[in-house]
């Protein structure tokens, strides 16, 4: 059963194709990783899928509905949620409030009710807060709930973003380099967290540089190079693919 289907997606900036004709599918509970050397177009692909960029060609189909170039807030209503490579945290808000923002669709109601502090407004907020605290516990940030988010360590912020994205109760979750800049222990924690989320039936699309992590947790891997898909398959197949070794692993070996 396919939940998210990417069909021939492409975009160019200033006449140069950044992503060309990329297709793949993601099913519930599955972890699909997109890998490729720097500049391969992974984040650009993410930005197209999540409605930040308007694709030049191709389609994004979510749950049977064409959602190509749909505004991110409408995608959120349809069950898509994401994190960001370079962190988009609400710096001046507390950790709890950051997570609560993820409950927006569930907790928001008439402005007038909020203005007058009506019981309905308080009830919505209270329900969301319970959920948010539970989520923070799940990502190990419950003790930091009242701290200003800007004061957290990089690894904690990564987990906070995952908690915020999970607050939407998404059907599909896009994670853009969730382990970048994290140490080995933190990476392992995030590793477990992702596996746990997938086990609960969420479809996960992952961009990650840590090859060990990708090989360990992915069900399916899509390899991009210069904006084009050059291979896909399960971790074992992909890691043996000569084109992948040449383009990606080869480049890494040459650099290392």
């Amino acid at each position: 059963m396919t939940l998210l289907s990417i069909e021939g997606l492409g975009i160019s900036f200033g006449g140069i194709a950044a992503v060309k004709n990329v297709s793949f599918r993601v099913s519930p509970g599955e972890i699909v990783s997109v890998i490729g050397p720097n500049g391969a177009g992974k984040t650009t692909l993410f930005n197209m899928i999540s409605g930040v960029y308007q694709p030049g060609s191709g389609k994004v189909v979510l749950n049977g509905e064409d959602v190509t170039a749909m505004s991110p807030h409408l995608l959120a209503r349809r069950g898509m949620s994401r994190t960001f490579q370079n962190l988009q945290i609400f710096q001046t808000m507390s950790v709890l409030e950051n997570t609560l923002a993820g409950y927006h669709l569930q907790e928001s109601g008439p402005v007038l009710a909020d203005l007058l502090n009506l019981p309905s407004s308080r009830r919505r907020a209270r329900a969301a807060e319970e959920g948010a605290r539970a989520l923070l516990k799940r990502v190990g940030l419950e003790r930091a709930a009242e701290r200003e988010a800007g004061s957290l360590s990089y690894g904690s912020l990564k987990r906070l973003e995952i908690a915020r994205a999970m607050a939407l109760k998404p059907k599909v979750l896009l994670l853009d380099e969730p382990a970048a800049g994290c140490n080995a222990v933190e990476t392992e924690e995030i590793d477990h967290l992702i596996a746990e989320i997938a086990a609960s039936g969420v479809a996960i699309l992952l961009v990650e540089h840590d090859m060990k992590m990708v090989m360990r947790i992915s069900n399916h891997i899509v390899v991009l190079d210069h904006g084009e898909k050059i291979a896909e398959g399960d971790p074992a197949t992909v890691s043996r693919d000569p084109a992948v070794i040449a383009a990606y692993l080869g480049a890494e070996h040459a650099a290392g």
Partner: protein, 290 residues
Amino acid sequence: MSELLQFLLSGVTVGAVYALVALGFTIIYNASDVVNFAQGEFVMLGGMITFFLHAAGAPLPLAAVIAILATAAIGVAMNKLTIEPARGAPVVSLVIITIGVSILIRGAAQLIFDKQIHTYPAFSGDDPIHILGATILPQSLWVILGAVAVFIGLWLFFTRTLLGRAVLATSNNRLAAQLVGINTTFVMTLSFALSAGIGALAGVLVTPITMVSYDVGLALALKGFAAAMLGGMGNPKGALVGGLVLGLLEGLTAGYLSSQYKDAAAFIVILAVLFFMPQGLFGRKSTDRV
């Protein structure tokens, strides 16, 4: 026909002044991402200082040169004392700082000079020149030619000189400019000097037509700001076109519709342009990077 020409001529004169003010906005914006609401005060200072030096016995050309240099120095001081220390502050704070400076300059001018309205003789007399049934004051030609000279001079400066290219490079990417060894602090200082000097020149040229008092700066700053936005912030060509369009609109509205609502026409058009082109006529489109 001659009526239309008349409105166009007065529109171009006013537009040339707006274009110069807008150019001042643009230069500073490019160097520092700051919109300088004190830009109108530079125009006022140009006119006021010239008047008082002239009244004290200095010949007009000398008075004008001193006024322009003094205003440029004030621009540099403004940058050193208020903009540089506030580097990295949010847009709202910068707006308040530059509005604060403009109020401060106005307050100081009111104390140092006076609250009277002043003017000095036109450079080439007051006999109107007749063109196809319309008339234009010789001083208007001074204003228009002054604006043209400034734009050509700046164009040469930016494209033909090393320093000008350094300024352009800084406006494109400050960090990259620093990396290749451009002294961006100096570029900012230069930008404030240039922009204040150009503002003062506009004031020197236009005072014989519009007269000057300590409080004329604000209205000019708003119009210049609007013109710069209309053209697209940060684009000298946009400043020129924005200023002229605004001036012509005012001239035509005042002529055919209502002189009371000439300012309204300008702002309605700006709202309309921003509605269809949120980056102005020549502005760069920006994309969020995430």
